[in-house]
Symmetry: D2
């Protein structure tokens, strides 16, 4: 595994936990953790449970005892690492967004397709696909339970930057992160829309905003929270993004991603309305899926609040009794399960680099649209 910050901790937990709850076809071994600083990396390896450490990620690619590389670094390094790992015959799991530019993403996808021909697998970490309620939503839509997809509305609302004095991090630096709310959280709702409906976005109209253009430089970080210093630096990414568009099948879809929505901590929401019903999800109530079935009789129809913790639901039989809900990191554990099962079965895991490229194309179109003046019609007000 390369990187050991927020995502590295989540991935380590997943590698450690998956074999304890799921019957896996392959037994993962947590062999090498890669980081640039020897001491910090060694300490992280101890805490997170990796057997060895390495400061040069290229060295790991030469080891025979490494079968899979898990890339948890900022987006500007993904392309180089992933392409090299695939070339070296290592399966690759890369965090989202897959890359900071469409060009890098395309290069990675070409490499992944080529590697697949050699039996080398690749996957992108859109972990929210593995939340049981989200997986159930996709099942129900795919089975036709809500009929033909007519409308998608999605939001990803956070508030950790709403305080103008929250410090800078690499996530606010365009060179490292590629974009702001758009790539960090907007990418997730694009992927969810693709995943649940089975259709990619074909076009968009978009608007990006940066509300706070200068912030204190951080001195230390823990998760997304940093301690501010006295120096200040520029924010070079978007704080919020709004866009709408059409799915390949023509259905309209509207999206908002922001890290400035006071009181919304991790409100990743998606609602898909079809010709025969609707599904709705909100990560702030992550164990629940809401389903409206228009076939229910008019007197008792209503959104069903499904507690997605029954043994019949995706992933949940491996865990606890009904109502004993799962948390954020379980999706990462499920991601490991799905990845290892695909590798063992010699099939392409999902979401593939192709799937992630479809997301990347949307992010790129959003940025292009936002930059174009023709998007906007004056009201005269």
């Amino acid at each position: 595994m390369i990187g050991y910050a927020f995502m590295g901790r989540a991935h380590s937990h997943a590698w450690r936990t998956a074999p304890r709850f799921f019957g896996l076809p392959l037994a993962p071994e947590m062999s090498v953790l890669v980081g640039r600083t020897p001491d910090a990396t060694a300490e992280a390896a101890r805490t997170l449970g990796w057997a060895e450490v390495e400061t040069d990620w290229r060295a790991v690619l030469e080891r025979d005892d490494v079968d899979l590389v898990d890339i948890c670094t900022p987006g500007d390094t993904h392309a180089e690492m992933a392409v090299a790992a695939l070339a070296a015959g290592k399966h690759v799991l890369v965090e989202k967004p897959m890359a900071n530019t469409l060009e890098e993403a395309t290069t990675m996808t070409v490499a992944a397709r080529e590697a697949a021909g050699r039996g080398v697998r690749s996957m992108v970490g859109f972990s929210y696909r593995r939340v049981p309620a989200v997986a159930l939503a996709r099942q129900l839509v795919a089975e036709g339970r809500i009929g033909e997809v007519r409308q998608v509305r999605a939001q990803y609302l956070q508030d950790w930057l709403a305080d103008a004095e929250a410090p800078l991090s690499w996530r606010l630096d365009k060179d490292r992160a590629g974009s702001g709310a758009l790539g960090d959280i907007g990418a997730h709702i694009v992927d969810l829309a693709h995943f649940i409906t089975g259709q990619p976005l074909a076009g968009v109209s978009a608007m990006l905003d940066t509300f706070v253009t200068e912030r204190p430089v951080a001195q230390s970080f823990s998760g997304l929270q940093g301690t501010a210093g006295t120096e200040r630096g520029p924010v070079t990414v978007d704080d919020a993004a709004i866009w709408f568009g059409r799915l390949a099948g023509g259905a309209p879809a509207v999206f908002e991603a922001t890290r400035f929505a006071w009181g919304r901590k991790n409100a990743m929401r998606i609602e898909v309305s079809g010709s025969a019903g609707a599904v709705a999800f909100d990560f702030e109530d992550m164990n629940v899926l809401h389903l409206y079935d228009a076939a229910d009789d008019a007197r008792t129809a209503g959104f069903r609040r499904i507690d997605v913790t029954e043994p019949d639901h995706p992933y949940t039989a491996a865990w606890w009794p009904p109502g004993h809900g799962l948390g954020y990191e379980h999706a990462f554990t499920h991601q490991v399960v799905d990845l290892l099962e695909a590798i063992a079965a010699e099939r392409q895991p999902e979401p593939s680099f192709d799937d992630a490229l479809a997301v990347q194309r949307v992010l790129d179109a959003v940025e292009r649209s936002s930059a174009a003046s023709s998007v906007y019609t004056e009201t005269g007000n």
Copy 2:
């Protein structure tokens, strides 16, 4: 009052009820109901409590005992009626949307400004401003409780057309209604955004959709529900509208209006995020306002679910004890109260025709934007 369908019933109830619960400066008398069909109008007058009937609305304008004309007809008749009534020195309350075209709306506004110089008042029936929770939201924003307005997200979701066999009505006929979801319900969320933030939308990017282009012709109607016949006719308005834009102060705002969102009956929702907090409202829980105050200590901050039924809240002292919630039609009663108080105080009631013109400009820009191909950036998917 001209017209006696859904809106006519709501307005009649308001005229009858306002003096019973509020100390009004003027005592309304429900003198004449105007309708085209003598028998049906007479029956409506009996049911709704109007003293007389008239089939020619122009005749009413000549009567000395009529001080105020309440226009509840479809949008294509508003301009002619309102302009004539104002010219005749009658105060005017006109239902929203104020008109079907920007041209008509402009004519009306000019007439209203001129009439105001003669002490003749005019108001547009954006009744949702009078829901206590909405009025409280505006108060809090105006007082600076959420700081500077940064973002607006608004939805108006209904499902009464989601069934493709729901019959046609004048609301689906462009000639009568002007537009579909956009003017019928989209107008409300534009007005709410203007009202709560105090800023109009300066520009938009938009997309309109019609999902079902042909429907059975209705044989009879009750409220929004009709009985379908065997004949079919075209739907000439939008079924759904999505748009985003910027308020005059620069804050981004995103909107969706649809009558196809299965399971959402009257989900008129608006959330305004500011630099110091946020307010959120959903008409499906109409007696509640959610407030996030970023000044609350970090350990106990959270959206407050305010049951807006305390005596300190707008309009509520006139009604019932706390927790004994109000319903849809109360907003119309409050509208009558506010209108009569403004007339008695010789000041301009709100929302004025100017306020409604600002909404109309947005609706017009949404239609123009939706028709323009340049709005759209292809993703390549």
Copy 3:
């Protein structure tokens, strides 16, 4: 109508509004308002819309133009008034609780049975039965949708006395009110349990509490809110009541009524679990009924949030389109409709005095149980 405070206002609105929205078999005329103070009564009559006033309620019973007497006074006067009115051949609607003692309630019930033999009707104002979501709950239970009734849990939580400085009113005086939270709001949840399940409570174990034993004497009142003076007086009723028991069919049921639950404004809640499903209601979301149908497939079963505003729902077709919710006073309007329909059809309206007597027996048993020391088993803690 006798009395014109909170309940008098609600009843007046109902008499005025019912004929405007419902096709009634009898046309109500609001002829005489009775109150002790001539001036205040006259003013109330003007505001509430009664044609005449009277200070002696007995005088009204002698008038031929009065067919029905609506009793909205405190509970200590109900028995005398109701018995006299029935003897005079007037139909009677009496507010709940029907009486302050079981003895009075029994006398009234005997009188009502006798009057029924003469075609004189009587009803008690348990208005919450007429909330559409509650009426739907009863329908579903009666139709067997949740199977055999197994468990009832009910709460009525308010907070208007939680402030120890909230002033005294007749509702805190045992002589006038009979009891406190028990009779005022506890009576409602007992009646709802009886109504929805179709079974009365056969026995109880109970505990009453008074948290604040002395309060400021009120100087003026508006609704439940008064203005405190400097003098203090004793609270002679319960502030909160808890009891459990069994329905006639054996199912256990648990109840809590309190006016001290900070943050709960009018949370009248009832959930009935059966062998095949459950229904749940909360007045703070009064237009919604939650239904769990155990026959739904395991993967998509969940409480359905039914917006009880569709034309197929009880009472709602007379009002507004779906999602345009009703408020507190609508239940009183429905009460008038049901009462007049029963009188016209020459059948007994519900809830009858017999039905209310069943509630009164529960209240009485709760008081007796609470006073008995044998109820309590020490834990040793």
Copy 4:
């Protein structure tokens, strides 16, 4: 660790995970798993991550390399094991309910007090105390944020036995489980009431019910779900329990525990109303605490929905960013953290056997009260 069913899995995960996320003063080693069947125990040890297995729990007590014994077996074995382990100088963590009878619980408590004198620690696994929102509730109550405790209402609603064909397990056998819903889930809400208010229940009045007296014998089990065979056997425990009582300080409290509430999966709910506010929790939304602060101004007071995932909240700084919620098993991980910190600091961990004995006394009093006929007052209905 002794036992490896549902609780054994939860505990194993906790022992494995705690050192990865928390800086612990002691490093736990998962040395021996004890079970009666050698093969099944060996397989469980492999899956759950225990180094060795043992079939005789007494043998483990003789090992010097074992410092702590974690008892996850049914309640009828707890007393013997715990007393022996403490005598052997091993720290003990025992699952709840601590014992099946008050006598056993008392014996264990005496042993624990004696062992504490020797520095040997003991704790009972009321894990829900370690849900961050619950821990926050206790903090706020202890700090006086809601004033003096006035009322407690608690429910624990599940539905896994509502289906009359759900098979038997040891949890339905009085000899193994001691009681049914009462001891299994009722014990939790008693402990939570004690924990949050800091006061034990002093007395109760209670009613127990068994709705389904005979069920299919299970053939295999996974979590709480079994596969039914054709044979049938008796249910010898309660299906549901209702009780009320008073805390030591006099405040009334009401409780319901049931496994028959269709649609409620794991609704462990507690609300504490005080003189200055209230806190409310529902495990079905486990990352949220609701707080009503009566000091908030009347216009904006309302229950605050606190997403208990901020770094300032109990336990949460060790996990993920705000809004990235925790799941059921996290409470077990926190339990390990608290236990090891107490052992290292040479102080008594909580809840102690004394704390659990207080719960046991309540369970015992509930059973005695339920058996006494004097609890019940007939209504005459």
